[in-house]
């Protein structure tokens, strides 16, 4: 701050506060740091090694088990995250726009259901979702998990984006319509640009939740042919049987978290804006 006009005592308080925060943050950082350090250093000797990262390109042997390289799990996770994020954003934008800007029969009912579904935790419906997927014949496939993931997050993101649409002044839309655009072109050319921050925010939450999702894969996929990073790591760290040693696991965890961390530093600001949807779990 170049021209800090605050009295000296306030700056002193700020410094104390900074110190307290540093003291509180150190344990968290220390734990993370120590954990990920396992990936690079041999347990006993402390020598630097990249041996723990061999799972990136070749099968590795852990105890009695041969673990396939991470490639396929990584690809699946990317596919899952990309498709579910894009679909979620597109679908919620369309629905959010209609609910915010259009007049139609049944609007009140749908708006009301949206408000209730947004609060409703979809996790509780997994047993039912499983049955629906079974009936549709897409249980046990990446596609099945993708559609459930989208559906469970739609109410939340539609709600957010609807609020952004509501916030756009009518005038802008009207002038676009007057200029000879129909609804479609108005929607795609003008309106969508006005809600860019909203789109950024929902896509960020969609990305985070899709990338870390474990529960859906654990319950809806039953073969080993569709691994994603979450299940790939989980298989090696079951409660009764930590199969990978911490060195290998930390290395894998680092690969898994890297995109999240990168994304986190890019989009930190939107995260800060504190969106009412919650980026955790499903």
């Amino acid at each position: 701050m170049k021209n800090d006009t605050r009295p000296r005592f306030e700056r002193k308080k700020e410094n104390i506060a900074v110190l307290v925060m540093i003291l509180l943050c150190i344990p968290v950082l220390f734990i993370y740091f120590s954990f990920f350090k396992n990936a690079f250093f041999v347990g006993g000797t402390g020598a630097f090694t990249l041996d723990n990262f061999r799972f990136l390109y070749e099968p590795i042997v852990l105890g009695q088990r041969t673990v396939q390289p991470i490639g396929q799990a990584f690809t699946n996770t990317v596919i899952f995250t990309a498709i579910s994020t894009v679909c979620e954003v597109v679908i919620s934008c369309m629905a959010g726009y209609a609910l915010a800007r259009m007049e139609f029969t049944g609007k009140r009912v749908i708006t009301f259901s949206l408000l209730s579904l947004r609060l409703f935790p979809g996790v509780l419906l997994l047993i039912g979702a499983l049955y629906v997927l079974m009936y549709l014949g897409v249980l046990n496939t990446l596609f099945g998990v993708i559609i459930v993931a989208i559906a469970l997050r739609l109410p939340g993101s539609t709600f957010i984006i609807r609020n952004f649409f509501t916030g756009i002044p009518r005038d802008i839309e009207n002038s676009a319509l007057v200029d000879g655009c129909n609804r479609m072109t108005a929607f795609f050319q003008v309106i969508i640009h006005m809600v860019k921050p909203g789109i950024a925010s929902i896509s960020m939450f969609a990305f985070m939740s899709a990338w870390s999702n474990y529960l859906l894969f654990n319950t809806l996929i039953f073969n080993t042919k569709t691994p994603v990073l979450a299940t790939y790591l989980r298989v090696l760290s079951r409660n009764d049987q930590m199969i990978a040693d911490y060195g290998v696991f930390a290395a894998m965890a680092l690969v898994y978290m890297l995109p999240v961390l990168v994304f986190f530093f890019i989009s930190q600001k939107q995260l800060m804006e504190g969106n009412i949807s919650g980026g955790k779990g499903i």
Partner: protein, 454 residues
């Protein structure tokens, strides 16, 4: 409003019409196996690490292909494999879900809940395969209502492991050590004496812990209960809730961890690798579990089977003041054929090729790999098994082995029992309380007509 509803309905119907037709419709076609021609793809599912079981099937497939080719038959078997290593319950569900989804495996490994698969109409009756080729009684665990639904691939027994070096440290002579298994098998050396031995080894510092067991739920615990005169399967093949036997068993589990302290209280939180290492390097003097765990134990301390047999001995569950008959339980692993498969005859041919064709060697190779005897008599006569350093010593156990039938509700019983074991060892419940709690859980979770209470 009406419009909205009809729109929603139409949408839902459209979706189901689009996707609904891909359900399970693979059951009827091509039942007359002999007429199948061309390339046939069979799905094989397996769980856990011993892939020598499904690999034996794959190898049998190769042989059959060669045979078909030499006979000039237009038939080629190909395989699509799905090997997992997850909880057995999870695997069990996965197989059923896959079937519901229209993509169930044609041949798959079985867990202990064969009855569950039969109830879900997932298993083909293969009673016609119960031939002289197999060791007597080995089909028992795969029988439901008098029909066989799985083929046993091996004959692993559950035994007691003990560390020979530790005995030497406390002053036993080589002869004494060598004689111990026979004494335990004959009833001379009892379970009570064995527990005292565990305590002695520990107190003399020859091992850090006297007695260890697996970290998760498993049937091994039932062997100890049976040693203590407890019963869990009735004559007519029902699950038994034997309060007295359980009480004795729980008391012992509690005492081992909290009174004599020969078992670590947090054993269940340790995980397999730690426990395997404890047993392998002698940190724990004794252990009970399937003999095939020896592959893991030896692996955990990087020993060859020969070295391992030097250090660790195996014995059957001895007599006790409640049970005069030393025993060991045989728990064969096996595979079944999907009742809905398009190619039942080909699947059966594969099995036949394994137990009576040229592929028997595959079974003996599997048995040799996991340190057990084979389910097929001819395989037990093969070089692999005859020369296995561990199997050499445990061959006599086959005579003392018992096969247990498959009973409904068994998995639930074992899982619930294990929860109590964890609490008992941590000292967070009493044996009396544990029996009462277990009883309530069994009553709630299992239908009254499948359990006998005594």
């Amino acid at each position: 409003m009406k419009k909205l509803l009809s729109l929603l309905l139409a949408a839902a119907m459209a979706v189901s019409a689009l996707t609904g037709c891909s359900g399970d419709n693979n059951s009827s076609a091509g039942n007359a196996g002999d007429e199948v021609t061309g390339t046939v793809v069979l799905k094989v599912a397996h769980n856990m690490d011993f892939v020598t079981i499904p690999d034996a099937v794959l190898a049998a497939g190769e042989r059959l292909n060669a045979k078909y080719a030499s006979e000039g038959r237009d038939l080629k078997i190909e395989f699509e494999t799905d090997y997992s290593s997850i909880d057995w319950t999870e695997y069990h569900n996965n197989v059923i879900f896959a079937q519901k989804n229209g993509e169930g495996p044609d041949i798959f490994s079985l867990d202990s809940d064969v009855a569950g698969f039969v109830k879900a109409n997932m298993l083909l009756d293969i009673s016609d395969m119960m031939t002289e080729d197999f060791v007597d009684g080995i089909f028992t665990p795969f029988m439901v209502d008098g029909k066989a639904y799985g083929m046993p691939f091996d004959l692993p027994v559950r035994v007691i492991y003990y560390n020979k070096a530790a005995l030497k440290t406390i002053g036993w002579s080589d002869e004494q050590i060598a004689a111990l298994p026979q004494q335990m098998a004959s009833g001379e050396f009892t379970w009570e004496q064995f527990l005292a031995l565990c305590a002695e080894v520990q107190s003399k510092g020859a091992a850090e812990w006297g007695l260890a067991h697996r970290p998760g739920a498993g049937n091994d615990f039932l062997d100890v209960m049976m040693t203590l005169g407890g019963e869990y399967i009735s004559e007519d093949g029902k699950l038994v809730f034997d309060s007295e036997g359980l009480q004795r068993f729980f008391q012992e589990i509690y005492d081992n961890a909290n009174v004599t302290k020969i078992t670590p209280t947090n054993l269940s939180q340790m995980g397999w690798p730690t426990i395997n290492k404890m047993v392998g390097d002698g940190t724990a003097f004794a252990y009970y579990g399937p003999i095939y765990s020896a592959t893991y134990v030896a692996g955990a301390v990087e020993k060859t089977p020969e070295q391992f047999a030097e250090d660790v001995g195996f014995a059957v569950f001895p007599a006790s003041q409640y049970n005069s008959q030393p025993f060991c339980i045989a728990a064969p692993q096996g595979m079944g054929i999907n009742a809905n498969t398009q190619y039942p005859e080909i699947c059966k041919d594969l099995f036949r090729e394994l137990y009576s064709g040229e592929s028997i060697g595959q079974l003996s190779h599997h048995a040799d790999t996991i340190f057990t005897l084979s389910s097929v008599k001819a395989a037990n006569e093969m070089e692999d098994i005859k020369t296995n350093p561990i199997l050499k010593e445990v061959g006599y156990m086959a005579d003392l082995s018992i096969s247990e039938p498959n009973v409904e509700g068994f998995t639930t019983f074992v899982t619930e029992m294990h929860k109590q074991i964890v609490l008992l060892e941590l000292g967070q419940t009493t044996p009396e309380q544990a029996v009462a709690d277990l009883k309530t859980q069994v009553e709630i979770n299992l239908d009254a007509d499948i359990v006998v209470y005594k």
